[in-house]
């Protein structure tokens, strides 16, 4: 009960901040953008972001999700990530970075014939867990990996 109230407050605060940005003319809304889950992308913690994107933050850890990311990323601005989901009927793959200001990074929705594979490059503000949430057959599965970010670029 109490936790729900927390996330509700957080969500509404985030939505409020977004609203201010819109009225200040920083972000131009467009009809096309209706599908873009702005509450989920504005959420500041992992659970709230997952709830915003999927309506629930209950995920099952799965060994069928292969997450390829560097152990140590020298440059936090460009961290290559590859996700392969062997779960049959993978509908979407979401990337979250737990210590970024807004954890939700991307959601890839698989269309017809698409395999559970996606590769991209992300920004990470500091050393943190990379969380992947895969939606398959109406259920949520997750996998985690810690990526160390070397700040200063000394190549440690």
């Amino acid at each position: 009960m109490n936790t729900k109230r927390r996330s509700f407050i957080k969500n509404s605060a985030a939505a409020g901040a977004f609203g201010v940005a819109v009225s200040a003319g920083l972000i131009t809304p467009r009809a096309v953008m209706a599908a873009w889950p702005k509450a989920a992308f504005a959420a500041t913690d992992v659970d709230a972001a997952i709830t915003g994107a999927f309506g629930s933050s209950a995920t099952t850890e799965s060994a069928d999700i292969a997450l390829k990311a560097p152990e140590i990323a020298e440059n936090g601005a460009v961290v290559p990530i590859t996700v392969t989901s062997k779960i049959a009927g993978t509908e979407s793959i979401s990337l979250l970075i737990s210590k970024n200001p807004t954890p939700l990074t991307a959601t890839f929705k698989m269309g017809e014939g698409a395999e559970g594979f996606v590769s991209t490059r992300v920004k990470m503000s500091k050393t943190s867990d990379l969380v992947v949430v895969v939606k398959a057959n109406g259920k949520l599965y997750s996998a985690k990996k810690e990526v160390k970010v070397t700040i200063g670029g000394c190549g440690g």
Partner: protein
Amino acid sequence: MAKSIKVRAKVKGGTTVVKALISHAMETGLRKNKKTGKKFPAHFIQEVTCSHNGKDVLTADWGTAISKNPYLSFKFKGAKSGDTLKMSWVDNKGESDSVEAKIK
């Protein structure tokens, strides 16, 4: 903003591998201008769509944490050599671009 997308698609054993590079600033809205102390306004791609024969094979919702000049790769089944693949993006300022590529 023409030609901001470079895309390659290749069929191998029934699976098409798509690799794309988009040139975009991907400004988070958190970076500060050192001279003025003001923040650069956010400017990032929100939606990427990729379709084959009029069917969407991948739609991606992106946040600000995708790197500058984004790279994206994915695989799908059901395409053959010579087919056309269409990729497009829309950012938070309403700018957009699309490109068509032949699958090799």
